[in-house]
Symmetry: C2
Subunit: 162 residues, 2 copies
DNA sequence: ATATAATGTTAGACAAAACTAACATTTATA
DNA sequence: TATAAATGTTAGTTTTGTCTAACATTATAT
């Protein structure tokens, strides 16, 4: 039995997330691919895998393929979900380009609290699955991003007495 | 002449930000206070100040008070502004409590890109300085946060043909 | 089947940023 | 003003996570 309560470092979370992503592609996960996806050299990967193996988050034998334990999977997926939520906010609400959105999500995913992430998720649920009112509102936002000022037409609608 | 293009580490940004905040209180800035505000021991502060002094971002002589150079001020204020923007989003849009909002902002401020931050700023400008339409929209969001579902009354309004 | 390429590991160096313990200086106080 | 308390520094250790160089293993291809 082991205690997993000790928080993982950002770096270790990155490794787990990368393995989740690579695993989802169906092919066996190799050190080199992790190295590429994370932009670190291979010895760094070997060393990280050793640690994660000792923490029972990763299964990896010398020269072998890499896979996740149940707990590793759980954490990796969680991190990846944080990533997707943040990226979704950045691209769909803030209209940040893919590049920046991904890079930012990749760093913020390690530091946002559970509390804030839950709220962000709700926020996205609310805004993006809306019958109609918010579509209107989002249109206004798009316009504001594009032209730096409010769309008069939409504005009038808003101001008008109901 | 010196090149400041080399990115500062998160830690060094934290020190500059802390000094900005302490400076704004009017009293001379001491090592101990920086130590308290950042939750590190005093030798860590001394050592950080030494580095920042060498990079011409901080003025600090042995046993003396701490102050910022122009460049240090510039960077420190920038970081602090990022912090405030993020906190504002977390508290005013996501309704995250002060504690979490501050902690999260404190970490995210170092990793969010300029691009995303600018968009976030615009977003807040748009949403929070709105004549009326968005106030309505925000009310809906508040309700959704509170009760986990949409307010029927507000919803009807949204759906109704205009 | 063997040489070569690709892949993976080991060992050891290094940097950042924290820490503790011990010492130095400054400030406050009796 | 002498001494205690508060404040600050130095030296040295530790942790984490990189890296390079050299070596080991596995896969590929003639």
């Amino acid at each position: 039995m082991q205690y997993f309560s000790n928080k993982l470092t950002q770096s270790m979370e990155d490794y787990l997330e990368a393995i989740v992503i690579l695993t989802s592609k169906g092919k066996p996960v190799k050190v080199t691919e992790i190295s590429n996806i994370l932009g670190v050299k291979k010895p760094s990967v070997t060393s990280a895998l050793k640690k994660l193996n000792e923490s029972n988050l990763v299964k990896h034998e010398k020269y072998g393929d890499v896979s996740l334990t149940e707990e590793g999977k759980r954490i990796g997926h969680e991190v990846y979900k944080r990533h997707r939520t943040l990226r979704r906010f950045l691209t769909e609400i803030l209209k940040v380009d893919q590049e920046h959105a991904d890079a930012d999500a990749c760093r913020m995913e390690h530091v946002i609290s559970k509390t804030s992430l839950e709220k962000l998720t709700k926020f996205l649920d609310f805004v993006l699955n809306c019958p109609r009112g918010n579509a209107e509102w989002l249109k206004g936002l798009d316009y504001y991003f594009k032209y730096g000022k409010r769309n008069k037409k939409l504005l009038e609608k808003c101001n008008r007495k109901e």
